[in-house]
């Protein structure tokens, strides 16, 4: 049901939005600069839901209060989630440090503390080079057929190899087990 908003209704809505926004700022200890943004978000959400308002079921003020309370809960959840991810006071990696001859915050963070390390990617170039040498040493202990099997398994599975006629599944798995033990003996553990 469409309901036209009078000037006094608008004042009620704006007043309600102001109260809810200030309460959120206080409860979440957000910067005062965020007040205008939160107030705008509350109002936009209410205007989007205004077509659902039915004056026979309650007053506009009560409707606005409920809608804004729900929206405020979602805003609070988002603020808490952002704090868990980025900390209470997010800082930019490009921020220049005082008395540091132009060094930024990002310059202080080592490769082993970055996102790549967090997701398990190799970040130590020397260790990676040594691992590569170990892999090649390990491959040298394998029979030529087993080396070719390792190369094939880098791009497909045992089941597909068996289906493609490279041998029975059981014998391929037996060979994989032998290959793992041979590589273990040269110091390469399974990933």
């Amino acid at each position: 049901m469409r309901h036209s908003i009078s000037r006094s209704d608008l004042q009620i809505i704006q007043h309600e939005a102001d109260i809810v926004a200030r309460r959120l700022i206080r409860q979440l200890r957000l910067p005062y600069d965020d007040l205008a943004d939160i107030r705008q978000e509350l109002l936009l959400d209410l205007f989007a839901r205004l077509p659902a308002f039915d004056p026979e079921r309650g007053s506009l003020g009560a409707f606005a209060g409920i809608v804004m309370a729900n929206r405020a809960t979602r805003i609070a959840h988002k603020a808490r989630r952002d704090r868990r991810l980025y900390g209470a006071v997010p800082a930019s990696l490009d921020e220049t440090l005082p008395n540091s001859a132009g060094a930024t915050r990002g310059d202080l963070i080592g490769e082993d503390e970055g996102l790549a390390a967090y997701f398990g990617q190799p970040v130590d170039a020397f260790a990676e080079a040594e691992r590569r040498l170990d892999v090649e040493r390990g491959l040298g202990t394998l029979a030529p057929n087993d080396g070719a099997l390792c190369a094939a398994l880098s791009r497909t599975t045992v089941d597909r190899l068996a289906g493609g006629g490279r041998g029975a599944r059981s014998s391929l798995y037996r060979r994989v087990k032998d290959i793992r033990l041979a590589l273990l003996a040269v110091g390469l553990r399974a990933a």
Binding site: R137, A182, L184
Partner: protein, 113 residues
């Protein structure tokens, strides 16, 4: 007529093939591991009575893997005699070979080709 029968002592398999490979992989040159104590030729014999069948099969795999590691120059294989039919089989870790005889890149290229 047989008047005395020397009873063979029961032996026990202490490590398996995977344990041996793991040890070789992390051993420093000169480290020693007694990977078996007994008499390999008898204990791996299919009609032997000193080990249960599953342990005998695992011992066969263990012995083959030790031999393979010796051939690959990863370990030296030596024995220490303790008494009749009682030997300690030792693996002495060697320095890992510095040169890599295989190339990962050429292996992968050969597979794709």
């Amino acid at each position: 007529m047989i008047s005395t029968i020397t009873k063979l002592p029961t032996v026990r398999l202490r490590i398996n093939e995977t344990d041996l490979c793991g040890w070789i992989g992390q051993a420093a040159p000169g480290d020693v591991l007694e990977y078996y104590r007994g008499f390999l030729a008898m204990d791996t014999f299919s009609h032997g009575a000193r080990l249960p069948e599953c342990d005998r099969a695992e011992l066969t795999r263990l012995a083959r893997r030790a031999w393979w590691a010796g051939e690959q120059k990863l370990i030296h294989l030596v024995q220490r005699r303790h008494g009749p039919d009682d030997y300690g089989y030792l693996a002495v870790a060697r320095s890992k070979p510095k040169k890599a005889p295989a190339s990962l890149s050429s292996l992968l290229l050969a597979e794709v080709a």
